[in-house]
């Protein structure tokens, strides 16, 4: 096992974790502040990817694709909040889960109506489509490096927003005690609309960035939503810092498990056993991680509500 391979896997874990964070941030804020379980968050991620693909095909510009995807999905988020989420706030979690699940089904069918059942094409920009040589003999995909850079910048910006700005103070207040915040004069509905829109925009950013390396297809939101929920539970619901740490942990553990477990097992077991046990173990590692965290910190690593 070479040092290059380990470094490459660390970068892979970082890249995957940062993308999970972009999606987790919006979801955890919405859940933390309004106590709404929005399963349809993955559909916003899907919407971002599809709009980006459409824009890319029409304009050929990846930058335009990202900007349009983020803008359009933010508008979709606003509509979703005003038409549906606002009505679900007063209902219990079961109604919210059912309601937002219905949104998933509707969203998937709407996407099928517009773009058809086959996955659509979203290519990476030609400039970033190859690998770059980080060190002699160490190639890494340029596009993934760009994702890492964008992910880090957004994470920092979000952290600064939540900790340094007045709006961020309100967001934190709303997350830690909604009733108290309301009593202190915070206009929670307006705050919530803002947070929901921000969450939609972040999910769309993740969708348009991940679209070129994965597939833009119906149901892509649900696949990633499960991992995102794990990140949030590990990090502590409602906390941006928690979502960040949780996402990086899940990204790293998932990548490391898939990369190194089969190799390690190969030293102990025959090759055919190792190649079949390894991935299965790797797949459950993040859930073991979640269970482990919950045993020692039942409300996650950095809970917003103490």
């Amino acid at each position: 096992m070479s040092l290059i391979l380990i470094t490459e896997q660390l970068l892979n874990g970082l890249q995957f974790g940062l993308m999970l964070f972009l999606i987790a941030a919006g979801l955890t804020l919405v859940f933390g502040i309004m106590d709404i379980m929005n399963l349809a968050h993955g559909s916003l991620y899907m919407a971002g990817a599809y709009v980006a693909a459409e824009t890319m095909q029409r304009t050929g510009s990846f930058t335009a694709a990202i900007i349009v995807a983020v803008g359009v999905t933010a508008l979709v988020g606003i509509a979703l909040e005003i038409l549906i989420m606002r009505k679900l706030v007063t209902r219990d979690h079961l109604a919210q889960v059912l309601g937002s699940y219905a949104v998933i089904l509707i969203a998937n069918d709407l996407v099928k109506m517009i773009w058809g059942p086959t996955p659509v094409m979203l290519n990476m920009p030609a400039m970033l489509s190859g690998p770059v040589e980080l060190l002699p003999d160490f190639l890494y995909p340029a596009f993934r490096l760009m994702i890492i850079a964008v992910g880090l910048i957004v994470a920092l910006a979000l952290y600064a927003f939540v900790t340094k700005t007045r709006a961020g103070v309100l967001v934190r207040a709303g997350a830690s005690n909604r009733q108290m915040a309301t009593l202190m004069g915070v206009k929670v509905p307006v705050l919530f609309l803002g947070v929901f829109t921000l969450g939609a925009a972040l999910a769309a950013l993740a969708g348009s960035l991940l679209g070129p390396i994965t597939a833009v297809q119906i149901g892509m939101g649900e696949e990633i939503l499960i991992l995102v929920l794990v990140c949030i539970v590990i990090g502590g619901i409602g906390s941006i810092r928690g979502a960040f740490v949780g996402a990086l942990l899940v990204g790293m553990v998932d990548t490391a498990g898939r990369a190194f477990l089969p190799m390690l097992l190969r030293n102990v077991f025959p090759a055919d056993v190792a190649s079949s046990v390894g991935p299965t173990l790797a797949a459950i590692m993040i859930y073991v991680l979640m269970a482990g965290v919950l045993v020692f910190r039942p409300s996650g690593l950095f809970p917003a509500r103490g």
Binding site: L5, M121, S129, F143, S276, A282
Partner: protein
Amino acid sequence: MKRIVLSVALATAFGGSLVHADTVKVGMAMDTSGPFAAVGGEVRDGFNLAIKMLDGKLGGQPAEFIQQDMAGNPDQARQLVNRFVQRDKIDFFTGPVGSNVALAVAPALFSAKVPYLTSNPGPSQLAGAGCNAYFFGVSYQNDAFDEAAGKVAADRNYEKMFIVAPDYPAGKDHLNGFKRGYGKPVSDEIYTKLGQIDYAAELAQIRAAKPQAVFFFLPGAMGINFIKQFVAAGLDKDIVLLGPAFSGDEDIIPAVGDPILGMYNTAQWSQDLDVPANKKFVDAFRKEYNGRYPSVYAAQAYDVILAIDAAVKQVDGNVKDREAVLKALKAADYDSVRGKFSYGTNNFPIQAYYLRKVEKDADGRLVNRLVSKVFDNYQDVYVKDCKLK
């Protein structure tokens, strides 16, 4: 007056039921939603083109095509098939995309004596000990594409082979099929999580192993992700990418785009296969669907309808005579898009397999082109376990 009304009513009812009895009914389980939606769409388009070209008739008889979506779900499919058999009294069944679904619905169809012509999956169970006179593997046996790819790798003297598939039963079957065709030990073998979206960890291992070629069976979006990430990592410069047609067909190509250029894959059919019936099919398909090229799935679905049409014609519309229908189906006497082929004792085809490569056509559209013939008359290995004669 009363009597006239009564007799008119009787006549209508009687006449109606007579027409009803003549209608050939085909139950079609479609997977246009769910995990196989992309492939299901191809299958549907193939069916509908053939139906349109036959004016909605089968063997010149009026026909009814009952298309129901069952979302690739075995339970839903089982219920649907029971309804097809009991309420609709279908004469033929076809459709589902997944092997798991085929295995789930087959017993009910066999006991009801309804011929089942698969438009895609050819599970080994139904080719071997579980073979049945009512099942026709019009398409292929599941292992065939992989064995052909294995033979390609062996013929090209690839010494270091890296093979990848998702960790579920079909994944193992496909890799075993490849190994059988390859005939020597592979240097590395990876199983990934089913439905995985990011292959960075696996690609880093491939980079470290430096193989000559990678064979992968990753259906649907998994394959799309894999190919895109493989090319973005720069691995395509030194490593040949090889797969069964499931990994490089028309359901995948448009979603991957340019990175798929140059990928090799194996199938029993290609859009440029030099067969008159195929030329007619491909031209009609492209005309019907905005210049889109058909996939293997669409070609197979088209063939299924033609096969039923020929069988109905051969029994003069008397589809209730199941013995005669089975005999007619087994003759495979129709203009298949693959050219002439025959069935083995297990009702799975003995046919040629080809190597294809994704290239650009004159309009810059990505499409599979035939490279060479891999097998002339391939018969699956399970036939020896089949008790049929």
